[in-house]
Symmetry: C2
Subunit: 422 residues, 2 copies
Amino acid sequence: LRLLVIGGTAAGLSAAARARRLDPALEIVVLEKGEVVSFGACGLPYFVEGRVREPEQLTVYTPEYFRRERNITVRAGAEVVSIAHGRREVQLRSGERVHYDRLVISTGARPVEPAARPNEFNLHTLADGKRLRQFLTEQQPRHATVIGAGYIGLEAATALRAHGVQVLLCDRNPHILHRDDPELTAAVCKHLEHFHVELRLGCTDGMPDTDELVIRAQGLRPNVELAADGGIERGRTGAIRVDERMETNLPGVFAAGDCAETMHLVTGRPTWIPLGTTANKMGRVAGANAAGARERFPGIVGTAIVSVCGLAVGVTGLSAAQARAAGLQPVSARITSVDRPRYFFGKPITVELVADRTTSRLLGASIWGEEGVAGRLNVVATALHSRMRLEDFAGLDLCYAPPFAPVWDPVLVAAQQLQKSL
Amino acid sequence: LRLLVIGGTAAGLSAAARARRLDPALEIVVLEKGEVVSFGACGLPYFVEGRVREPEQLTVYTPEYFRRERNITVRAGAEVVSIAHGRREVQLRSGERVHYDRLVISTGARPVEPAARPNEFNLHTLADGKRLRQFLTEQQPRHATVIGAGYIGLEAATALRAHGVQVLLCDRNPHILHRDDPELTAAVCKHLEHFHVELRLGCTDGMPDTDELVIRAQGLRPNVELAADGGIERGRTGAIRVDERMETNLPGVFAAGDCAETMHLVTGRPTWIPLGTTANKMGRVAGANAAGARERFPGIVGTAIVSVCGLAVGVTGLSAAQARAAGLQPVSARITSVDRPRYFFGKPITVELVADRTTSRLLGASIWGEEGVAGRLNVVATALHSRMRLEDFAGLDLCYAPPFAPVWDPVLVAAQQLQKSL
C-alpha cells in the first residue's frame, strides 16, 4: 500500500511522519517540486534580518534524514502536473507516472502578486530570502516600499528597519493584519511610526513604490489548480474543501496545509487562514487517517501573533467588526494594564476582549505589548475552544507572582471591564 | 446600612472596593489590626533581594486614598477581638464596639512557626521584610538556613543567594512546593544546587540551623479563631467554610482570602491554598454579595508559579500522585522541548501533563524552564476550568511565530505524548 504526498513542507512532511508512526509497513513517498524540503518559512524574516545567520537553520530535516530515520522517500524536484484519481496515479513534469493508494495533497499557497522585477521580492521561499539578503548586502538600499500590512509585510518592515533601511509600508486595506480592528491598527501604526516606518493604509490610488527595493506581501492564494483539475472540490473560501478527517470529496484523497480550508470554531464556518502551525496540525491528522486511523482536526480559532519592531501583536477569534459581520451581537472592552506589577518593572499591555451580548460567550481578543502577550493570547484561544462564557473566563485561576504577572492578570481585568457591558 | 470588613489586605480591600462600586450609599468600614494596609506580601522576597527598593512600592493604596477616592473608612491599628453576631457587632481590643449589617471576614493567615529569636525571620509582613533587609545589611551574614521548601522558602533562598549568602534549604517534606511530584522536585533541586543552594528534603531528624540567620517558611495556617469564637463554622481544611457566594454559615457574614477555604475544581473538594490572587478574587465576590449582588466564585484549579534562581516553576491542577490520592486514575507524560525555535535561541522547557485514564480529562501540569512558563501554565489552567479532554487540548490553536513559540507548542507536544498512554 502506497501513500503519496504532494508537497514536502509543513503539512506534507507532518502527514508522512505521522503515517509512518502509525503504520511501519506503509510505503510512503513525498514529491516536492522545489529543491528544498522541510523548510520553515516563518523564520524567513529573521533570516533577512540576520538574527538567523544560515539558511540551513531554517530547514529542519533533509531527504536523507527521512529515508534513513523514517523510511520515507522524499523526492525533491519532482513536480506533479496532474492527478488521475480513476487510475490512482499522478503524472510528473518529467512524464513519469506514480501510483498511489492514498493521497495527501499539501501543495501550499503562493503570493498573490509575485515579484517580477530584480528589485522586487516576495518572502515566501528560501530562495526569496536568500536573494533579498544578498540584495541588501550588495545594493545597500536606503529606501524600501513594503506592499501589504499582513504578517509578512509587518515582519519584512521590521527586518528592513534592523538593516537601517527607510521603510514605507502601504496596504489597500485600511487595517493591519486584514483584521477590522481599528484600535489594534492605531496602536501598531503608532508603534511603527515611532520606529520611523512611514505608513499608508487604505491606499487605493495606486501603490507608491521606489526604484530601490519593493517587498510584495499582498497575501497568499491557495495552490488548488492541480487538485481542481483532478476533480477535487473547493470550498467557499476557494481552498480545498475537507472534512474533519482532512478527506476531500474523493475517498482516500486528503488535503492539508495552506491549500486547504478548515473550520473556524468561533463562526462555525469554513475559513482559510494559511499558517504554519495549522498546516502541521492538519498534516498530522491527514497522515493519520491516510494510514487508516480515525483522527479529527476540528478547526481553528484564528490565533496569530507577530512581532512588529519589538511590539508583540496577537489576535484570536473575532474582532467586534468581524463578529458583527458573522451575524453575532458583539460587545467589547479594552483595557491597558501591566504585564507584571509596577514595582517589578511591569510594562504596558493592552487587551481588547469581544463577547456575544446574547450568550455572553467569549468571541475573540486582540492583545499587544512588549512582553507577556503570547501566553495571554493563548489563554483566550483556549477559552474560545471551550466556548467559555465571559463570567467563567473572568474567574480563571491564572498564575500570579511578581516576575510573571500582576495580581489581577490583564485578561481578567479586561473581562471584568467587559462584564459591565453585558 | 453598614458593611464592616475585618482585615485590610488583599481580600478585605477588594471586598470593600467592590461593594462601593455596586452600592454608592453603603457605609463601608475596614478594620485592620496592623499599621499597614493594602500590602502586597508577594513582593516581599524581591524587597529583601533589593530589586524592589522601597517598602512603599509594596503598599498599593493608603487609608487616605480609600477615604478620598472611594468613600471607604480604613482604620489601621484596629484589632477585632470578638464577634457577637446576635447583636451584629464586633468588639475591638480597645473595648470599642462597632455595629455591622454585613460582615466580611478577611483575617488572613499566619506562619505556622513564628520567628522567635533575633536571627530568625518569617517573610509574611512588611515588618518582617524590613527587619530582614536591615539584618542583611548590618550583619552581613555568610550562611543562612531556610526551613521550608514552599513558595516562600524558595523565594527567600533566591533572594539570599542574590546577596551572596550561602543557603541551606531544608524541609521535612520530601517534595518542593508540597506537591508530590518527584520530577519537579528533582529538576528544581538540580537547578538550586547549580546555584550552590544546599538542599535537605525529607529531613525528619530535627531541622539543622545556623547561628547566623534562619528563615522560617514552614507554611501558613488560617486565622480562624476570631471567626470560630463568633460561631462561624470551619470546613474540613480547617479554614472558614463558605459557599460559592463566599457566605459563611451565618447569614450576612462572608469570609474571603487566606482565612477561607474554596473549591478545588479538579477534585471537586474544598481546598485551602492561600495565595494573593485567589484572595483578591474571593474578596471581590464577597464584597459584591455583601452589597446585595449575586455573584459567585466557583473555585480554583491550584495554579501557582515561583521563580527559583531564574528558573520559572509552575504547577496547576493535580500531580499524578495527587490525582491518585483523590481517587482518580492518572496517566502522565513529560517532555522537554524549547520555548521558541532552536534557530531563534529557544531554551529548554519541560512540561508534565496529567490526565484521567477513564475520562481522558486533563487533570494537571507541572512546567519549568527559564522562559515561557507562565503563559503555558495558564493555558493548562484554562483547560482545567473547562474540564477539557486531552484530545481537544492537543488540537488547541495556540499562537506561533519564532519570537514566541516553536511551531508545535511544548504543551501540545506533551499532550501528543500523553495521548499515546490513553
